[in-house]
């Protein structure tokens, strides 16, 4: 139909994180031409971490973003009082799970975590929250060492930390390059928890509902393609990260690609974030309303 009725092409700005395997759908959709077929031209913007990306998002520099749910939640919670802020609205899930705790030989079982130094990719990340919830539930005492995701495998290789929780491919790098073993995966910590989400700016959504709908459709198509063509997905993952086949296999085995968001786990996260003082502008009573407004299920 595109041939008979040439569509107007719209350019949208899409933020994502460098080398993050969770965002594979974005690259599949781009490489398969799903966006072009819907008349959307994408301009990719890359960031080193979620909070930086969300700061730019709030400032109106992005229309869509592939980002972890907690940075999006924090940013929305903080920006709600600002009429000028571009608030994120979830229109699809990007992936579930996708994190793992990897450790050195001194830790064989979760109980051994006590007294050890465990790296996290920073206060307020999903991984930090998962670890906090886990140690609270299992009465463990360990030292958290927050740092940038880029440094976790390096620190581990030097023995400065006994292990870390991170998103893929960081844990798999430690396994393949530094002899770490996987202690717990997302599945063990919080099965099917929401990880990354596809968000759109509330202002963009208000004015370009059709484009949002097309973008979501392309995204969904891509996620389905990953599920149905694992070999293709793996090759693409190798191309965009430069990692080995063995490493990508391990990393992809920890990620669940799905386009349907999971409000329940997001509520759990938000409660934890309020407890941790990461979110200060909401109370526990407001959580349900907040998450319901945060997720727009019309497009999936």
């Amino acid at each position: 139909s595109g041939f008979l009725f040439p569509q107007q092409t719209a350019t949208v700005r899409v933020g994502h994180l460098t080398g993050d395997l969770h965002h594979l759908a974005l690259f599949v959709a781009r490489n398969q031409g799903y966006f072009e077929q819907s008349g959307i031209k994408i301009e990719l913007k890359e960031y080193a971490n979620g909070p930086l990306l969300m700061q730019d998002f709030l400032a109106g520099e992005l229309d869509f973003a592939y980002v972890g749910a907690p940075p999006a939640i924090s940013a929305r919670a903080k920006g709600m009082s600002d009429p000028n802020a571009h608030l994120p609205v979830v229109i699809a899930s990007v992936n579930l799970e996708g994190s793992a705790i990897v450790v050195d030989g001194s830790i064989e079982s979760p109980e051994d975590l006590s007294g050890k130094i465990i790296g996290t990719p920073g206060t307020g990340t999903i991984q930090d929250i998962l670890l906090s919830m886990y140690i609270r539930d299992h009465n463990l005492t360990l030292t958290k060492s927050p740092m940038s995701i880029s440094y976790l495998p390096i620190e581990f290789s030097k023995g400065t930390i006994n292990g870390f929780i991170g998103w893929e491919p960081a844990p798999s790098i430690a396994v393949v390059q530094s002899g770490a073993h996987v202690l717990l995966t997302s599945k063990d910590l919080f099965e099917n928890h929401q990880c990354c989400v596809l968000v759109v700016s509330n202002k963009f959504l208000a004015s370009h509902q059709d484009l949002v709908s097309k973008f979501a459709a392309a995204h969904k198509l891509a996620n389905n393609y990953i599920i149905n063509n694992p070999a293709y997905a793996k090759q693409l993952a190798m191309n965009i990260t430069g990692h080995s086949s063995q490493l990508i296999d391990l990393a992809l085995s920890h990620i669940v690609y799905t386009s349907t968001p999971d409000p329940v786990s997001m509520k759990t996260f938000l409660h934890a974030m309020i407890d941790l003082n990461v979110v200060t502008t909401l109370t526990h009573e407001q959580v349900d309303d907040f998450i319901n407004a945060f997720i727009d299920t019309r497009f999936i």
């Binding site: 913007k45 890359e46 960031y47 930086l52 730019d56 400032a59 520099e61 995701i149 880029s150 390096i154």
Partner: protein, 260 residues
């Protein structure tokens, strides 16, 4: 310096560079870490990124050109603001008292610390310009003020006895006499501004720029490209510095100190 001396010092320099690279390679082999590449891997990365481009297809030269463009823009802006303000502050002590309580603490806030505010208040290229500006502004300002204050009182008196007005004195005595200091301020400012490029490009968004290259490949755990980026920044910084330095030398032949 004599011809023979220069040749000798060049040879010595080359020799020490080779020793340095050799030791580095040795360290890399000895540590045998996937995260510490030797100079050979960096060289390979240089050819790869220069021809095939990086993971997003941008070549090393396009990263470099983008960064240079951003830095020069910020630098230009810094010069345009700092020089007039510096002359003004150097001439009027009261302007100095008014502005220093605000300017002085700001001087010691590093450019990276401005990133969050830059994201909120600015967008697009203006952010880069702002962060480079923050770095380059103060060296230019302080040098300009110092240059203006060092203007010889005799020269000003001399001009006054001819009946010169304050405009003439500013443009024909104060400014030319402060110019060497202004230029060295510009040189230091360009150096500092250039070194802010990593901070400025840390925000992200655009996938191109040398700072971005470093951050991107640090996130991809490919240290060879990270070191390539560092070396490129170092060498371009050196070249920019040298360019201004030789302009200074040419411009200020009249300044006996510069020739010594």
């Amino acid at each position: 310096m004599k011809h023979a001396d220069r040749a000798k010092s060049l040879l010595l320099g080359l020799f020490s560079l080779i020793v340095f690279l050799f030791l580095w390679q040795l360290l890399a082999v000895w540590m045998n870490s996937p995260f510490l590449p030797g100079p050979y891997s960096v060289l390979t990365a240089f050819f790869r990124i220069s021809t095939a481009g990086d993971i997003d297809g941008y070549t090393l030269s396009s990263h470099a050109m983008t960064s240079i463009y951003r830095v020069l823009l910020g630098f230009l802006f810094a010069g345009m603001t700092a020089i007039p303000l510096g002359i003004f502050m150097g001439l009027k002590p009261s302007v100095n008292s008014v502005s220093s309580p605000i300017i002085e603490p700001i001087r010691f806030i590093p450019p990276i610390a401005w990133i969050p505010l830059a994201i909120i208040l600015l967008g697009g290229i203006t952010r880069y310009v702002f962060l480079i500006w923050i770095g380059a502004f103060f060296p230019i300002l302080l040098n300009t003020i110092a240059g203006v204050k060092r203007t010889s009182a005799v020269l000003v008196d001399m001009a006054k006895t001819f009946g010169a007005d304050s405009r003439t004195i500013t443009f024909k005595i104060v400014f030319p006499s402060a110019l060497p200091e202004v230029m060295s301020g510009l040189r230091v400012g360009l150096g500092v501004g250039w070194m802010c490029i990593v901070a400025a490009e840390m925000i992200g968004g655009d996938p191109v720029g040398l700072g971005r290259l470093i951050i991107k490949y640090a996130n991809l755990y490919q240290m060879d490209v990270v070191i390539l980026g560092m070396v490129t920044i170092g060498i371009i910084g050196l070249i920019l510095n040298y360019a201004i330095l030789s302009t200074e030398r040419r411009l200020f032949k009249w300044r006996v100190e510069v020739r010594a």
